[in-house]
Protein backbone atom coordinates (compact mmCIF):
# COMPACT_ATOMS: atom_id res chain seq x y z
CA UNK A 1 0.00 0.00 0.00
CA UNK A 2 1.41 3.39 -0.92
CA UNK A 3 2.44 5.41 2.09
CA UNK A 4 0.10 8.33 1.41
CA UNK A 5 -2.87 5.96 1.10
CA UNK A 6 -1.97 4.33 4.41
CA UNK A 7 -1.78 7.77 5.99
CA UNK A 8 -5.12 8.68 4.51
CA UNK A 9 -6.77 5.53 5.87
CA UNK A 10 -5.16 6.06 9.26
CA UNK A 11 -6.52 9.59 9.31
CA UNK A 12 -10.00 8.28 8.53
CA UNK A 13 -9.83 5.86 11.43
CA UNK A 14 -9.05 8.59 13.96
CA UNK A 15 -12.32 9.71 15.45
CA UNK A 16 -12.88 13.45 15.33
CA UNK A 17 -13.51 14.77 18.80
CA UNK A 18 -13.38 18.40 17.81
CA UNK A 19 -16.74 19.03 19.43
CA UNK A 20 -16.04 18.37 23.06
CA UNK A 21 -12.39 19.34 22.80
CA UNK A 22 -13.64 22.84 22.07
CA UNK A 23 -14.61 25.07 24.93
CA UNK A 24 -18.15 26.41 24.95
CA UNK A 25 -16.84 29.30 27.00
CA UNK A 26 -14.65 30.48 24.13
CA UNK A 27 -17.71 30.79 21.89
CA UNK A 28 -19.77 32.77 24.37
CA UNK A 29 -18.69 35.72 26.47
CA UNK A 30 -20.77 36.30 29.60
CA UNK A 31 -20.98 39.56 31.55
CA UNK A 32 -23.03 40.87 34.44
CA UNK A 33 -24.12 44.50 34.16
CA UNK A 34 -26.29 46.82 36.24
CA UNK A 35 -28.40 49.81 35.27
CA UNK A 36 -27.03 51.77 38.21
CA UNK A 37 -23.60 52.86 39.42
CA UNK A 38 -24.44 52.15 43.07
CA UNK A 39 -26.86 50.28 45.29
CA UNK A 40 -29.31 52.28 47.35
CA UNK A 41 -30.56 50.49 50.50
CA UNK A 42 -34.19 49.40 50.15
CA UNK A 43 -34.32 50.18 46.42
CA UNK A 44 -34.52 47.89 43.44
CA UNK A 45 -32.43 48.04 40.29
CA UNK A 46 -31.95 45.95 37.16
CA UNK A 47 -29.12 43.63 36.25
CA UNK A 48 -28.46 42.09 32.88
CA UNK A 49 -26.73 38.86 32.00
CA UNK A 50 -25.27 39.65 28.62
CA UNK A 51 -24.04 36.86 26.38
CA UNK A 52 -22.02 37.68 23.28
CA UNK A 53 -22.11 34.72 20.92
CA UNK A 54 -19.63 33.80 18.20
CA UNK A 55 -21.15 34.50 14.73
CA UNK A 56 -23.23 31.61 13.26
CA UNK A 57 -23.64 29.98 16.68
CA UNK A 58 -26.75 30.20 18.82
CA UNK A 59 -27.92 29.86 22.42
CA UNK A 60 -31.45 29.01 23.52
CA UNK A 61 -34.66 30.61 24.79
CA UNK A 62 -36.76 29.22 27.71
CA UNK A 63 -38.34 26.83 25.21
CA UNK A 64 -35.37 25.68 23.12
CA UNK A 65 -37.64 24.02 20.54
CA UNK A 66 -37.06 20.45 19.35
CA UNK A 67 -33.53 20.27 20.79
CA UNK A 68 -31.09 22.31 22.84
CA UNK A 69 -31.18 23.68 26.37
CA UNK A 70 -32.23 27.08 27.69
CA UNK A 71 -29.73 29.46 29.26
CA UNK A 72 -29.82 28.71 33.00
CA UNK A 73 -28.91 31.15 35.75
CA UNK A 74 -28.35 30.56 39.46
CA UNK A 75 -27.98 33.74 41.48
CA UNK A 76 -25.45 34.04 44.28
CA UNK A 77 -26.52 37.17 46.10
CA UNK A 78 -25.56 38.63 49.46
CA UNK A 79 -27.95 38.05 52.34
CA UNK A 80 -31.20 39.96 52.07
CA UNK A 81 -30.95 40.54 48.31
CA UNK A 82 -33.60 38.95 46.11
CA UNK A 83 -33.85 38.55 42.34
CA UNK A 84 -37.01 38.55 40.24
CA UNK A 85 -37.62 35.94 37.56
CA UNK A 86 -35.31 36.38 34.59
CA UNK A 87 -36.82 38.10 31.61
CA UNK A 88 -35.87 36.52 28.30
CA UNK A 89 -36.17 38.76 25.23
CA UNK A 90 -38.20 37.67 22.21
CA UNK A 91 -36.19 34.94 20.49
CA UNK A 92 -35.64 34.16 16.83
CA UNK A 93 -36.48 30.87 15.15
CA UNK A 94 -33.93 28.71 13.36
CA UNK A 95 -34.74 25.63 11.32
CA UNK A 96 -32.06 22.98 11.06
CA UNK A 97 -31.83 20.08 8.56
CA UNK A 98 -34.58 17.51 9.16
CA UNK A 99 -37.04 20.31 10.06
CA UNK A 100 -35.67 20.58 13.57
CA UNK A 101 -36.89 23.87 14.95
CA UNK A 102 -34.97 25.85 17.52
CA UNK A 103 -35.75 29.08 19.41
CA UNK A 104 -33.00 31.28 20.71
CA UNK A 105 -30.49 33.98 20.04
CA UNK A 106 -27.57 34.68 17.75
CA UNK A 107 -24.76 37.21 18.27
CA UNK A 108 -25.99 38.82 21.47
CA UNK A 109 -28.65 38.53 24.13
CA UNK A 110 -29.23 40.09 27.53
CA UNK A 111 -31.46 38.50 30.17
CA UNK A 112 -32.76 40.98 32.69
CA UNK A 113 -33.73 40.60 36.34
CA UNK A 114 -34.75 43.08 38.99
CA UNK A 115 -32.73 42.91 42.21
CA UNK A 116 -34.16 44.17 45.47
CA UNK A 117 -31.60 45.53 47.89
CA UNK A 118 -32.44 45.16 51.58
CA UNK A 119 -32.92 48.27 53.70
CA UNK A 120 -30.02 47.28 55.91
CA UNK A 121 -27.20 47.30 53.31
CA UNK A 122 -24.01 48.62 54.91
CA UNK A 123 -22.88 51.75 53.14
CA UNK A 124 -19.21 51.07 53.84
CA UNK A 125 -18.37 47.98 51.78
CA UNK A 126 -19.02 47.20 48.10
CA UNK A 127 -21.67 44.61 47.30
CA UNK A 128 -20.71 41.63 45.15
CA UNK A 129 -23.50 40.22 42.99
CA UNK A 130 -22.74 36.96 41.31
CA UNK A 131 -24.42 34.38 39.06
CA UNK A 132 -23.60 30.95 37.72
CA UNK A 133 -24.63 30.87 34.08
CA UNK A 134 -24.89 27.72 31.99
CA UNK A 135 -25.68 27.49 28.29
CA UNK A 136 -25.57 25.20 25.34
CA UNK A 137 -24.13 26.83 22.25
CA UNK A 138 -24.80 25.13 18.91
CA UNK A 139 -23.98 25.39 15.24
CA UNK A 140 -23.27 22.07 13.51
CA UNK A 141 -22.37 20.72 16.92
CA UNK A 142 -23.49 21.65 20.40
CA UNK A 143 -21.07 22.58 23.15
CA UNK A 144 -22.02 23.25 26.76
CA UNK A 145 -20.49 26.25 28.46
CA UNK A 146 -20.66 27.86 31.86
CA UNK A 147 -19.29 30.83 33.69
CA UNK A 148 -19.48 32.48 37.05
CA UNK A 149 -19.90 36.19 36.52
CA UNK A 150 -19.77 38.88 39.15
CA UNK A 151 -20.29 42.57 39.59
CA UNK A 152 -19.01 44.85 42.38
CA UNK A 153 -21.23 47.78 43.19
CA UNK A 154 -20.70 50.35 45.91
CA UNK A 155 -23.54 50.73 48.39
CA UNK A 156 -24.50 54.35 48.45
CA UNK A 157 -26.99 56.53 50.21
CA UNK A 158 -27.77 58.87 47.36
CA UNK A 159 -25.13 59.20 44.64
CA UNK A 160 -26.41 56.33 42.46
CA UNK A 161 -26.50 57.27 38.77
CA UNK A 162 -28.02 55.40 35.82
CA UNK A 163 -25.63 53.15 33.91
CA UNK A 164 -25.70 51.17 30.67
CA UNK A 165 -28.95 52.91 29.79
CA UNK A 166 -28.93 52.23 26.08
CA UNK A 167 -28.18 48.54 26.52
CA UNK A 168 -30.93 48.11 29.08
CA UNK A 169 -33.41 49.98 26.90
CA UNK A 170 -32.55 47.84 23.87
CA UNK A 171 -33.12 44.58 25.70
CA UNK A 172 -36.02 45.68 27.90
CA UNK A 173 -37.87 46.76 24.77
CA UNK A 174 -37.31 43.31 23.31
CA UNK A 175 -38.83 41.49 26.29
CA UNK A 176 -42.30 40.28 25.27
CA UNK A 177 -44.90 42.59 26.73
CA UNK A 178 -48.15 41.58 28.35
CA UNK A 179 -49.44 45.04 27.52
CA UNK A 180 -50.72 44.22 24.06
CA UNK A 181 -52.73 47.41 23.67
CA UNK A 182 -49.94 49.32 21.98
CA UNK A 183 -49.08 47.07 19.04
CA UNK A 184 -52.52 45.48 18.68
CA UNK A 185 -56.05 46.49 17.96
CA UNK A 186 -57.37 43.07 18.92
CA UNK A 187 -56.19 39.65 20.04
CA UNK A 188 -58.17 36.44 20.21
CA UNK A 189 -57.06 32.95 21.16
CA UNK A 190 -59.38 30.01 20.58
CA UNK A 191 -58.89 26.27 20.02
CA UNK A 192 -55.41 26.32 18.57
CA UNK A 193 -55.89 29.59 16.75
CA UNK A 194 -54.52 33.00 17.60
CA UNK A 195 -55.68 36.02 15.67
CA UNK A 196 -53.86 39.33 15.95
CA UNK A 197 -55.00 42.61 14.46
CA UNK A 198 -52.07 45.01 14.43
CA UNK A 199 -52.31 48.76 14.79
CA UNK A 200 -49.45 49.30 12.32
CA UNK A 201 -47.52 47.29 9.72
CA UNK A 202 -45.41 44.42 11.06
CA UNK A 203 -43.25 41.77 9.42
CA UNK A 204 -41.65 38.44 10.34
CA UNK A 205 -44.45 37.43 12.68
CA UNK A 206 -43.59 34.18 14.45
CA UNK A 207 -45.20 32.13 17.22
CA UNK A 208 -43.00 30.81 20.01
CA UNK A 209 -44.79 28.16 22.08
CA UNK A 210 -44.08 28.04 25.80
CA UNK A 211 -41.70 25.57 27.41
CA UNK A 212 -43.60 22.58 28.76
CA UNK A 213 -42.80 19.03 29.76
CA UNK A 214 -46.43 18.02 29.30
CA UNK A 215 -47.70 19.67 26.16
CA UNK A 216 -46.29 19.37 22.68
CA UNK A 217 -46.97 22.12 20.18
CA UNK A 218 -46.78 21.18 16.52
CA UNK A 219 -47.92 22.17 13.03
CA UNK A 220 -47.40 25.83 13.79
CA UNK A 221 -48.53 27.96 10.87
CA UNK A 222 -48.49 31.74 10.57
CA UNK A 223 -50.51 33.53 7.92
CA UNK A 224 -50.23 37.25 7.32
CA UNK A 225 -52.89 39.24 5.45
CA UNK A 226 -52.37 42.97 5.65
CA UNK A 227 -52.46 43.90 9.32
CA UNK A 228 -54.05 40.62 10.39
CA UNK A 229 -52.04 37.59 11.47
CA UNK A 230 -53.62 34.18 11.96
CA UNK A 231 -51.55 31.62 13.82
CA UNK A 232 -52.68 28.01 14.03
CA UNK A 233 -51.06 25.24 16.04
CA UNK A 234 -51.77 21.84 17.52
CA UNK A 235 -51.30 21.28 21.23
CA UNK A 236 -51.15 17.66 22.31
CA UNK A 237 -50.70 16.16 25.74
CA UNK A 238 -48.06 13.49 26.18
CA UNK A 239 -49.24 9.93 26.75
CA UNK A 240 -50.69 9.35 30.18
CA UNK A 241 -50.61 12.98 31.24
CA UNK A 242 -53.57 15.33 31.43
CA UNK A 243 -53.18 18.37 29.21
CA UNK A 244 -53.70 21.88 30.43
CA UNK A 245 -52.59 25.04 28.73
CA UNK A 246 -53.33 26.99 31.87
CA UNK A 247 -50.42 29.27 32.65
CA UNK A 248 -48.61 28.35 29.45
CA UNK A 249 -48.06 31.70 27.85
CA UNK A 250 -46.76 31.80 24.32
CA UNK A 251 -44.94 34.65 22.64
CA UNK A 252 -45.64 36.24 19.29
CA UNK A 253 -42.52 37.85 17.90
CA UNK A 254 -42.47 40.43 15.11
CA UNK A 255 -40.48 43.23 13.52
CA UNK A 256 -42.17 46.56 14.02
CA UNK A 257 -42.41 49.45 11.54
CA UNK A 258 -39.14 50.88 12.90
CA UNK A 259 -37.36 47.61 12.18
CA UNK A 260 -37.10 46.56 15.82
CA UNK A 261 -37.68 42.99 17.01
CA UNK A 262 -40.52 42.97 19.51
CA UNK A 263 -42.76 40.44 21.20
CA UNK A 264 -46.07 40.13 22.95
CA UNK A 265 -47.22 37.59 25.50
CA UNK A 266 -50.18 35.49 24.40
CA UNK A 267 -51.87 34.01 27.48
CA UNK A 268 -52.49 30.27 27.28
CA UNK A 269 -56.04 29.08 26.96
CA UNK A 270 -57.11 27.42 30.19
CA UNK A 271 -57.67 23.67 30.01
Amino acid sequence: MPFFLAMFLAALAIPTFVAHAQDGKGLVKAELLADTTAIVPGKSFNVGIRLTVEPAWHVYWTNPGDAGLPIRVTWKLPEGFTASDLQFPTPIKFVQPGDIVGYGYEQEVMLIATINAPVGVKLTSPVVLSADVKWLVCKDVCIPGKATIALDLPASGDDAKPANQELFKTWTDRVPTANVLAPLVDLSHNAGQIRLDWSSDVTEVQFFPPASDDVTFSDIDVKQAGRTTTITYKAESLDGKPASLSGLNGVVGYIDKDNHRRGIVVPGVKG
Binding site: L12, A13, I14, P15, T16, F17, V18, A19, H20, D66, A67, G68, L69, Q96, P97, G98, I100, G102, L136, C138, D140, V141, C142, I143, P144, V180, D186, L187, S188, H189, N190, A191, G192, S212, D213, V215, T216, S218, D219, K234, A235, E236, S237, L238, D239, G240, K241, A243, L245, P267, V269, K270, G271
Partner: protein, 197 residues
Protein backbone atom coordinates in the same frame (compact mmCIF):
# COMPACT_ATOMS: atom_id res chain seq x y z
CA UNK B 1 -60.59 41.79 24.08
CA UNK B 2 -59.82 38.13 24.75
CA UNK B 3 -62.50 36.27 22.89
CA UNK B 4 -61.83 32.88 24.43
CA UNK B 5 -65.16 31.08 24.32
CA UNK B 6 -65.88 28.15 26.63
CA UNK B 7 -66.98 26.02 23.71
CA UNK B 8 -63.64 26.64 22.00
CA UNK B 9 -61.85 25.71 25.21
CA UNK B 10 -63.75 22.44 25.37
CA UNK B 11 -62.84 21.73 21.75
CA UNK B 12 -59.22 22.37 22.46
CA UNK B 13 -59.21 20.06 25.48
CA UNK B 14 -60.79 17.30 23.36
CA UNK B 15 -58.26 17.78 20.61
CA UNK B 16 -55.47 17.41 23.13
CA UNK B 17 -56.61 13.94 24.11
CA UNK B 18 -57.47 12.55 20.71
CA UNK B 19 -54.10 13.24 19.13
CA UNK B 20 -53.32 13.96 15.52
CA UNK B 21 -52.28 11.80 12.62
CA UNK B 22 -48.63 11.95 11.65
CA UNK B 23 -45.88 9.74 10.25
CA UNK B 24 -43.84 9.42 13.42
CA UNK B 25 -43.49 6.34 15.61
CA UNK B 26 -46.33 6.48 18.11
CA UNK B 27 -46.72 4.82 21.46
CA UNK B 28 -48.93 1.73 21.09
CA UNK B 29 -48.38 1.52 17.35
CA UNK B 30 -46.06 -0.67 15.26
CA UNK B 31 -42.45 0.52 15.29
CA UNK B 32 -41.15 1.42 11.80
CA UNK B 33 -39.04 -1.34 10.25
CA UNK B 34 -35.38 -0.77 9.40
CA UNK B 35 -32.31 -2.59 8.19
CA UNK B 36 -29.04 -0.72 8.61
CA UNK B 37 -25.35 -1.57 8.86
CA UNK B 38 -23.61 -1.73 12.22
CA UNK B 39 -20.02 -0.64 12.87
CA UNK B 40 -18.75 -3.94 11.39
CA UNK B 41 -20.80 -3.53 8.22
CA UNK B 42 -23.25 -6.22 9.31
CA UNK B 43 -26.94 -5.63 8.53
CA UNK B 44 -29.14 -5.27 11.59
CA UNK B 45 -32.90 -5.18 11.22
CA UNK B 46 -35.74 -4.67 13.66
CA UNK B 47 -37.40 -7.71 12.13
CA UNK B 48 -34.67 -10.12 13.23
CA UNK B 49 -35.38 -9.20 16.86
CA UNK B 50 -39.09 -9.98 16.64
CA UNK B 51 -40.38 -11.30 19.95
CA UNK B 52 -37.74 -9.43 21.94
CA UNK B 53 -37.81 -6.11 23.71
CA UNK B 54 -35.66 -3.63 21.75
CA UNK B 55 -34.23 -0.29 22.88
CA UNK B 56 -33.28 2.26 20.22
CA UNK B 57 -30.95 5.03 21.27
CA UNK B 58 -30.29 7.94 18.90
CA UNK B 59 -26.54 8.46 18.91
CA UNK B 60 -24.00 11.11 17.94
CA UNK B 61 -20.56 10.87 19.54
CA UNK B 62 -20.06 14.64 19.22
CA UNK B 63 -23.15 15.49 21.27
CA UNK B 64 -22.38 16.42 24.89
CA UNK B 65 -25.59 14.76 26.12
CA UNK B 66 -24.54 11.47 24.54
CA UNK B 67 -20.99 11.95 25.80
CA UNK B 68 -22.40 12.43 29.32
CA UNK B 69 -24.05 9.00 29.33
CA UNK B 70 -21.04 7.19 27.87
CA UNK B 71 -18.19 8.92 29.73
CA UNK B 72 -19.88 8.06 33.03
CA UNK B 73 -20.49 4.47 31.87
CA UNK B 74 -24.22 4.96 32.35
CA UNK B 75 -25.37 3.94 28.87
CA UNK B 76 -23.18 0.82 28.68
CA UNK B 77 -24.26 -0.17 32.20
CA UNK B 78 -27.93 0.15 31.25
CA UNK B 79 -27.42 -1.84 28.05
CA UNK B 80 -25.53 -4.56 29.98
CA UNK B 81 -28.08 -4.70 32.78
CA UNK B 82 -30.98 -5.21 30.40
CA UNK B 83 -29.03 -7.51 28.05
CA UNK B 84 -29.18 -9.99 30.96
CA UNK B 85 -32.96 -9.76 30.66
CA UNK B 86 -32.78 -10.45 26.92
CA UNK B 87 -33.32 -6.83 25.91
CA UNK B 88 -31.67 -5.85 22.61
CA UNK B 89 -29.92 -2.47 22.78
CA UNK B 90 -29.27 -0.68 19.49
CA UNK B 91 -27.77 2.76 18.91
CA UNK B 92 -28.74 4.56 15.70
CA UNK B 93 -26.50 7.27 14.29
CA UNK B 94 -28.44 9.55 11.93
CA UNK B 95 -25.69 12.19 11.76
CA UNK B 96 -24.95 13.19 8.17
CA UNK B 97 -21.23 12.70 8.81
CA UNK B 98 -21.42 9.19 10.23
CA UNK B 99 -19.62 6.19 8.71
CA UNK B 100 -19.20 2.56 9.79
CA UNK B 101 -15.53 3.29 10.49
CA UNK B 102 -16.30 6.23 12.73
CA UNK B 103 -18.86 4.13 14.61
CA UNK B 104 -16.33 1.33 14.98
CA UNK B 105 -13.70 3.72 16.30
CA UNK B 106 -16.03 5.26 18.86
CA UNK B 107 -17.36 1.83 19.91
CA UNK B 108 -13.77 0.80 20.66
CA UNK B 109 -12.95 4.03 22.41
CA UNK B 110 -16.06 3.96 24.60
CA UNK B 111 -16.17 0.14 25.00
CA UNK B 112 -19.59 -0.03 23.39
CA UNK B 113 -20.73 -3.64 23.00
CA UNK B 114 -24.03 -2.95 21.24
CA UNK B 115 -24.43 -2.15 17.55
CA UNK B 116 -24.24 1.45 16.34
CA UNK B 117 -26.21 1.62 13.12
CA UNK B 118 -25.27 3.86 10.24
CA UNK B 119 -28.30 5.94 9.22
CA UNK B 120 -26.32 8.69 7.49
CA UNK B 121 -29.16 9.38 5.07
CA UNK B 122 -31.50 9.92 8.02
CA UNK B 123 -34.38 7.75 6.73
CA UNK B 124 -34.76 5.70 9.90
CA UNK B 125 -34.36 8.75 12.13
CA UNK B 126 -37.12 10.52 10.25
CA UNK B 127 -39.37 7.43 10.28
CA UNK B 128 -39.14 7.53 14.08
CA UNK B 129 -39.24 11.33 14.14
CA UNK B 130 -36.09 11.30 16.24
CA UNK B 131 -35.17 14.92 16.85
CA UNK B 132 -32.53 14.86 19.53
CA UNK B 133 -29.64 12.74 20.71
CA UNK B 134 -30.17 10.75 22.78
CA UNK B 135 -33.85 10.20 21.82
CA UNK B 136 -34.91 6.86 23.26
CA UNK B 137 -37.50 4.32 22.08
CA UNK B 138 -38.57 1.03 23.65
CA UNK B 139 -40.21 -1.50 21.37
CA UNK B 140 -42.09 -4.32 23.10
CA UNK B 141 -42.24 -8.03 22.17
CA UNK B 142 -45.19 -7.33 19.88
CA UNK B 143 -43.12 -4.84 17.87
CA UNK B 144 -45.03 -1.85 19.20
CA UNK B 145 -43.59 1.35 20.60
CA UNK B 146 -43.89 1.13 24.40
CA UNK B 147 -41.91 4.24 25.29
CA UNK B 148 -40.53 7.25 23.48
CA UNK B 149 -38.77 10.29 24.80
CA UNK B 150 -35.93 11.38 27.04
CA UNK B 151 -33.46 9.05 28.70
CA UNK B 152 -33.95 10.71 32.07
CA UNK B 153 -35.58 13.55 33.92
CA UNK B 154 -32.79 16.15 34.18
CA UNK B 155 -32.12 18.19 31.07
CA UNK B 156 -28.45 18.83 31.55
CA UNK B 157 -25.13 17.92 29.97
CA UNK B 158 -23.34 17.75 33.33
CA UNK B 159 -22.37 14.25 34.46
CA UNK B 160 -23.52 14.96 38.03
CA UNK B 161 -27.11 15.17 36.83
CA UNK B 162 -27.30 11.43 36.07
CA UNK B 163 -27.35 10.26 39.70
CA UNK B 164 -30.06 12.75 40.64
CA UNK B 165 -32.29 12.01 37.65
CA UNK B 166 -35.09 9.49 37.26
CA UNK B 167 -34.11 7.21 34.38
CA UNK B 168 -37.31 7.01 32.34
CA UNK B 169 -35.97 4.26 30.08
CA UNK B 170 -35.02 1.95 32.97
CA UNK B 171 -38.37 2.59 34.62
CA UNK B 172 -40.33 1.85 31.44
CA UNK B 173 -38.18 -1.21 30.66
CA UNK B 174 -38.87 -2.65 34.12
CA UNK B 175 -42.57 -2.17 33.51
CA UNK B 176 -42.45 -3.67 30.00
CA UNK B 177 -40.51 -6.69 31.28
CA UNK B 178 -42.97 -7.13 34.16
CA UNK B 179 -45.86 -6.99 31.68
CA UNK B 180 -47.37 -4.05 33.52
CA UNK B 181 -48.61 -0.86 31.95
CA UNK B 182 -45.90 1.73 31.29
CA UNK B 183 -46.66 4.54 33.73
CA UNK B 184 -44.93 7.21 31.65
CA UNK B 185 -44.96 6.08 28.02
CA UNK B 186 -43.93 9.40 26.54
CA UNK B 187 -41.72 12.23 27.73
CA UNK B 188 -40.19 15.22 26.02
CA UNK B 189 -36.77 14.28 24.70
CA UNK B 190 -33.84 16.61 25.26
CA UNK B 191 -30.36 16.94 23.81
CA UNK B 192 -28.63 18.07 20.64
CA UNK B 193 -30.58 18.21 17.42
CA UNK B 194 -30.08 15.13 15.25
CA UNK B 195 -27.58 16.26 12.62
CA UNK B 196 -29.60 15.28 9.57
CA UNK B 197 -28.09 15.86 6.15
Amino acid sequence: MFKTGLFALALMATASFTGFASAEAKVGEAAPAFSLQDQDGKAVSLDEHKGKVVVLEWFNEECPFVVKHYKTGNMNALAAKYAEKDVVWIAVNSSNFTTNDKNKAIAEKWSIKHPILNDANGATGKAYDAKTTPDMFIINKDGKVAYKGAIDSIKDSDSESIAKATNYVAKALDEVLADTAVSQAETKPYGCSVKYK
